[in-house]
Symmetry: C2
Subunit: 281 residues, 2 copies
Amino acid sequence: MRILRTIKQMSAFSRNARLRGKSIGFVPTMGALHEGHLSLIRQAVRDNDLAVVSIFVNPAQFGPKEDLKIYPRNLARDARSCRIEGVDAIFYPEARQIYPKNYKTYVTVEGLGNHLCGSSRPGHFRGVATVVAKLFNIVQPSVAYFGQKDAQQSAIIKRMAEDLNMPLEVKILPTVREAGGLALSSRNSYLSAKERIEAVILSRSLSFAEYLVKNGLKDADRVVSAMKQLIRKKSRAKIDYISIVDRETLMPLKKISGSCLIVLAAWIGKTRLIDNTVVKA
Amino acid sequence: MRILRTIKQMSAFSRNARLRGKSIGFVPTMGALHEGHLSLIRQAVRDNDLAVVSIFVNPAQFGPKEDLKIYPRNLARDARSCRIEGVDAIFYPEARQIYPKNYKTYVTVEGLGNHLCGSSRPGHFRGVATVVAKLFNIVQPSVAYFGQKDAQQSAIIKRMAEDLNMPLEVKILPTVREAGGLALSSRNSYLSAKERIEAVILSRSLSFAEYLVKNGLKDADRVVSAMKQLIRKKSRAKIDYISIVDRETLMPLKKISGSCLIVLAAWIGKTRLIDNTVVKA
């Protein structure tokens, strides 16, 4: 496995692969790899001739008061995990390579990025879309893999790739959870032991919503209210949002019909966590 | 020569070419091809294994009161020109293919697109950057060719390709002019015989500026004033802007030193024309 630290090295690797007719599976990450990432990496290795993982904590997607500086970083550990999974190359650039002085170009997906997580994280999804567009151009993958855990991010990237006619496929794989239900996230490492137990309420509220919908409750507002009530009763989590939305457009729905997405974000102490589930009515 | 009307056909053509290791030279146009376009096409044919020309009058780069509806269109004539020059494929999509319902993704190059032509054409360069990003992804060229005539557009596309790490080279070729100096433009067809003579003042004002700079005038404001005076004295052209700017950042300069760009836009009757020249001091 190679660790490529420059855009030039990564581009050469990809150009060479494409010339030899090899398919590239690509998993863009911010490192701090957990089983969620590894499930994407395994799929990339399985589906393609070559697998590339990028590790880049993208400054453009962090707000000025967010956790850019303390975001967990551990290249040695991540590289070990990638090697075990059969990854062919890690792309590990420095920020000044990705955003050189006088950097000016941004990609925005209108309407999908301003609400939900976009409300409390202005500019976040512009940063995500931009860095992913750049990484796609550098790595030139055949297939790129993202997690359903980041539902809004996944919808935005899928839409960007389609809208801009990017010559690749975007695959979204299921959220990986701890035994108790907590969705895996690099930010779980911020939680104290007590908070980690408290955080389980988020996935429990989603299971509760699934149960309500399965039993005939179709009114989105009433489902959301019931979830909020449960979370408030059972925890000290501060809810940022809970919303039931269309899976592709992420537009809020009044009535649950067909296949919808329930998305939420909440603060457990000083840690902001997100989770979501698909419900079918 | 093939005329490909769908994204699917164009992508298949390009994928096939790339798999066979063939380089693609690409000239994106809005049709109504003139000698300026043909100079780009000739270079694309000369430099590459295959040459592709796109003809697409891009709605996203026209303002609501602009000339989208009357913009000259003549596929038969353009196809004939392309065939003569040895073009391998014309990409000729319909607008609803490029911008399907619910289209949402836009590319912006900050700072380069809001002044000069961007002031009187808000959104124009966002539309240009977006469609060119899309065309690059569909055609997957090795080299793309643009004209120096559209100086701001060329600077923006060069910057976008670099910023987003697009795997291609952007080449800017010199403006082609009529014998009298008028820069070739598809919009020249809007001019009456009398206006066409009047329009020559634009290139003459640029030559005059070159003369002034060559003779030691380095103060940008004074050069611009002299140009304005000449144009007002010799014509009824309505000046939109005249500005002396950095060639890459397009930021206005106070002093002319090294290699700078003099850019202008003016109305000749109901037709808005642009022109520019590089001066060296």
